[in-house]
Symmetry: D2
Subunit: 159 residues, 4 copies
């Protein structure tokens, strides 16, 4: 999960690497499915890594969808679709920060999901640790993120 | 699309055959994802036919999901998820009839989708033809349904 | 509940009368809140009758809302908001018919609400009676509709 | 907006005072509509102040609704209803903090609404100021909150 418009080139690059690493693990990558920013970069990387990709789209058609979303879930809910993205994920990795992304972190905590804050600043970490406690994990590299997901899945296997 | 509880054994059998035929075409089968009735039978057939399956689930977890839904979209929206099922589909095939199913046919017409009424009675066909006109197609066998989907996709290819 | 674009002048007039009668009873009138058709006419009548009005809007702002919706619930869900309209109502009266309206009738039956089909044709009545059984009531005048609502509310009082 | 379970007695008292002040202004008070915490206290105060109250409920019936919600919008969307609460509000006042509340602040910023953080700690203010910039206002008393809402409504009148 991460911003569309506001993502920096560095963040998009890291999102690509993350998607690629997720794909290599054989996991599914799910994002908000738009055609730019973190959402698109992660999906593109995931395909590169050999993984399956899902976009949970805000609009009422696939018109503005990322071409890297192999499966397009069309919600017609705008940012209301963020809750569906969160509930449909086993673990969230959050890269970059904006209002929509913050709502996903908050809804993930509310839904008792694990959220890995990747490369976030001190203010973000402090706030979400206060709201989410043990559900919020911290990481600064893609490798460490993958490792933390594996640790979580050992204890909480996907059926 | 079709009912959970109210489906007859014959309808479930036809749903299995339909899912299998869809899977064999290499198409994705999407249903409401519950663990019984048309939803489950179609997904089971689709896997048998070698296809990918998606369940768009009404609950807030995958607890009552069909084990044949390979991809589980969790909406926490109850019957509100019917609109997402409809929007995310390219063509709807409707087998069996109940209130939830009727809402899907109506929302599909509203969203300008094609709906194939498979094995429906006269009253159902007459009502939805009146509301949906050319968007509503009629079929009585799985083979004819697949043929009608192909005809539609030739003119309206999936990007 | 009833269509926007497709409503006939006669239907809009009856919707106004119905809203007015609902308002006079001191009941709240809730519609899909758009600025034309049955939705607008019923709200306008309701205000004339001294009632409170609610529009459950499809868009993400109040831009296209009926000016007769005193309370505007903004959903950003398109036709997905139909389920919220249905769940938030105690009794549905359906006047005119189109795809969106049909989805509301179906969702109301699914949600175990009472639906009064006002001035509907034989095909519509036959279909929804088959799907909804005793939950579907038939009326041909505003007066009879109000009387049927009262009968229902005596047995099922609003808390 | 504010938490249900996690609200402190002091926060609930302030929510009551806030609701009362909003009611006295003749404004509508809208909350998540549950029967405890900030949601209930604010609605109770609003009625005391002579205002109209709306609860946008997470469940599929009014069973667990606050008895102080005069108008009950039933969404069947769980925390997905937070986006509807946000979009349907002109200004948000946020008292107390928890994951659901944080999602509302974030969605409000995303939707270009003004959010008044009432009595929030430094970490919360710093994070949301970073994400929301000028859209996020700070207050520490009910009186100052009302004054800030008035200032906003002078420039951005409700139609």
């Amino acid at each position: 999960m991460g911003p569309g418009e506001g993502a920096t080139p560095d963040e998009n690059e890291m999102a690509f690497d993350l998607g690629q690493a997720i794909g290599r693990e054989g996991w599914i990558t799910l994002t908000g499915g738009r055609s730019f920013g973190i959402m698109d970069a992660a999906l593109k990387g995931a395909i590169e890594g050999g993984g399956l990709t899902i976009g949970v789209l805000p609009g009422d058609s696939d018109k503005n969808a990322s071409e890297n979303a192999q499966i397009k879930i069309i919600t017609s809910m705008g940012s209301g679709r963020n809750y569906i993205s969160v509930l449909s994920s086993h673990v969230l990795v959050v890269l970059g920060m904006a209002a929509g992304t913050a709502s996903e972190v908050a809804l993930a905590i509310k839904s008792n999901k694990r959220v890995i804050l990747l490369n976030q600043d001190e203010d973000t970490i402090r706030f979400f640790k206060k709201v989410g406690s043990y559900k919020v994990l911290i990481s600064s590299t893609v490798d460490d993120t993958i490792r933390q997901i594996k640790d979580y899945l050992i204890v909480n296997p996907v059926r």
